[in-house]
Symmetry: C2
Subunit: 373 residues, 2 copies
């Protein structure tokens, strides 16, 4: 085999749709020499992780842990455990990740009923209720709280009660919102809520924090068919993460769990309120500055995500070229549009450590230079 | 939330069934500041990883990459892609991981036919042929090359030809063998081969190297039913890892891929032959020394794994207590038995960086002290 050089990637300012900048303390934790996944000291770290994740999710759910995979594995873990062939699941679709949920639900052998909104807009709760009425019984309603592909925030306050009224579970994708804006699992009556580590948590990608309500866990434990994924089967994973049996399931990604613990400590030190304020503040500065450059946000202020800013690309601008030049000449990564919005928007992530005034000022300056050149 | 201290795990000598000791260079790579998963520089790193993995697996398979999960996710990826409801899969069962394969195959809706051997012994190839004859058509034969639960090596030289004769794919679990002893995917005509990073590769757990033959990929692409896992669907993942489209699938665990690249560089620098010799040598020294302490290996020399040494616990010895004292007083982790062998064996891993004479000498001294105290 030919020789490969020492790893030497460029240094990027990560202002895309994730991953975000990682704090040096998280890198140090990541590189801490590992111990075994059944070592009593590691089991204690798992307990601590669970406690911190419950706090972050705003829940008392026992089954709160980190799936050993990225955010998409969290999505899959949410559905394969509670959905069986023959079930009906209502899925809110106003972007790429709603579509992905549809796909995952169908691979569980269930009927997925899409409730749609235009990309860049939020879902109408009335349409969800209509779908609940038309498709009884509904096993679950699944919504993306923060649509990474469009930058839309889906308000969640009233959906939980609606689901309970119709006997449906509520599943929420908080991949891009957790640790960047409020996620209140218990207050919002969410039954399954998953996220990823590489967005507002500012940890490298590789784990998916998730939480299951007692009701969701009971459904996973009493279903008629076996859970189709062995790897993501929470009835077995619960035995490893729980305090009692600690039965070996699979080897946990030790280093990533170390990193997540440190990322959570940083969130805790900053405090949630201040962290959310910071995300809102830097997004406001960004939008204000971009407006001065003649760049308009895609999403209405009321449902605009502070952590993921979708910006309309002016018609005369070659969006891919600007992104390429930002990367090559300024070492700044931002994202392009996906699906319907490919070529039409830029997606500027201000997530976790990436959400700083310095980054906003630098990006705006770079964009100003590139658009005027 | 209460405050959590800085991460400060103990320093362990990892001589269990995995994870193994990680080289400082791998930790440095792991902690290298990340770039985006669609950054051209990261795509190049993926290309390099593929090239190194092909070399290590002894294959020219295009579809060779690292699954974004631990070894068990690799197992699941192997089966969900090629197995459909109604298929028949023959599974060799002589330990925990054969049983796990049975479970995974059944969750794919297929019929799993176990071919068994006593734990601690290898499978009889004649029995596999008998099962192939009795169960035509057979979609795949699945064998564990290195049974981590028993320390048995399954010879693989003739199984591939046998499978071809009956039109069956060959699936091999090389979680504990890859980079510790020869794995020759093309020569042995293996169609799907998966491993983990935390054993003889001496990388933290979190990725599962895997390779699919053209025939296995064609089966995944032309099956009647949709692949039940979105996350592990190789027909989509291939588009991300391939050279052409680079279509976004899920966010790769960037840091873990950095670490794997460095672990593979270390394997390459040592050379496979010398690495295998080192594993064999240190295992021989261990066994020789343990025999002097009156401790007998479980497995016959002909099929004994050098990287995972199963040792019979003398009847009068409290095996769990010895393991606990090794951990608490000597900071040495070794493993206990699983399933049928719980309480009856110790599992001493000499994998990757853990396979050193220093570790053997220290462990033997510690065991001598504990057994005589």
């Amino acid at each position: 085999m030919r020789n490969f050089n020492e790893l030497s990637p460029p240094q990027r300012i990560l202002l895309g749709p994730g991953p975000s900048t990682v704090h040096p303390r998280v890198y140090r934790a990541l590189a801490t020499p590992i111990i075994g996944h059944l070592d009593p000291e590691f089991l204690q770290i798992m307990d601590e992780l669970q406690e911190m994740l419950r706090w972050l999710f705003g829940t008392t759910n026992r089954l709160t842990f980190a799936v050993s995979g990225t955010g998409s594995a969290g999505m899959e873990a949410a559905f394969v455990n509670i959905v069986e062939p023959g079930d009906t699941v209502i899925v809110g679709v106003n972007g790429v990740f709603g579509n992905r949920m549809l796909d995952v639900v169908r691979r569980c052998g269930a009927t997925a009923v899409p409730v749609e909104a235009q990309w860049g807009h939020r879902l109408d709760i009335q349409k969800i209720e209509d779908a609940l009425k038309r498709n009884k019984p509904v096993k679950a309603v699944a919504l993306v709280h923060a649509e990474t592909s469009t930058g839309v925030l889906q308000p969640m306050t009233d959906v939980g009660a609606l689901c309970k009224k119709y006997g449906a579970l509520l599943v929420a994708d908080t991949v891009t919102s957790l640790a960047g804006l409020p996620v209140l699992v218990d207050e919002w009556q969410i039954d399954v809520c998953y996220s990823g580590t590489q967005k507002c948590l500012s940890c490298p990608p590789g784990l998916a924090p998730i939480t299951f309500s007692e009701q969701a866990l009971a459904i996973a434990q009493s279903r008629k068919t076996k859970i189709q994924s062995w790897y993501l089967d929470v009835t077995m994973i619960a035995n490893y993460w729980s305090n009692s049996s600690r039965a070996y399931h699979h080897t946990a990604p030790i280093s990533m769990n170390y990193a997540l613990r440190e990322a959570l400590r940083l969130v805790s030190e900053e405090g949630l309120k201040e962290r959310f304020r910071r995300h809102a503040r830097n997004s406001a500065i960004l939008i204000e500055n971009l407006l001065q450059l003649g760049l308009e946000p895609l999403v209405h202020e009321d449902v605009r995500l502070p952590c993921l800013n979708a910006i309309q690309v002016p018609r005369h601008v070659d969006e891919a070229k600007i992104r390429r030049r930002l990367l090559q000449e300024y070492n700044i990564e931002i994202g392009g549009g996906l699906g319907n919005l490919a070529g039409k928007i830029w997606r500027i992530g201000l997530m976790g450590e990436s959400s700083s005034k310095a980054n906003v000022v630098y990006l705006v300056s770079a964009l100003r230079e590139l658009l005027n050149s």
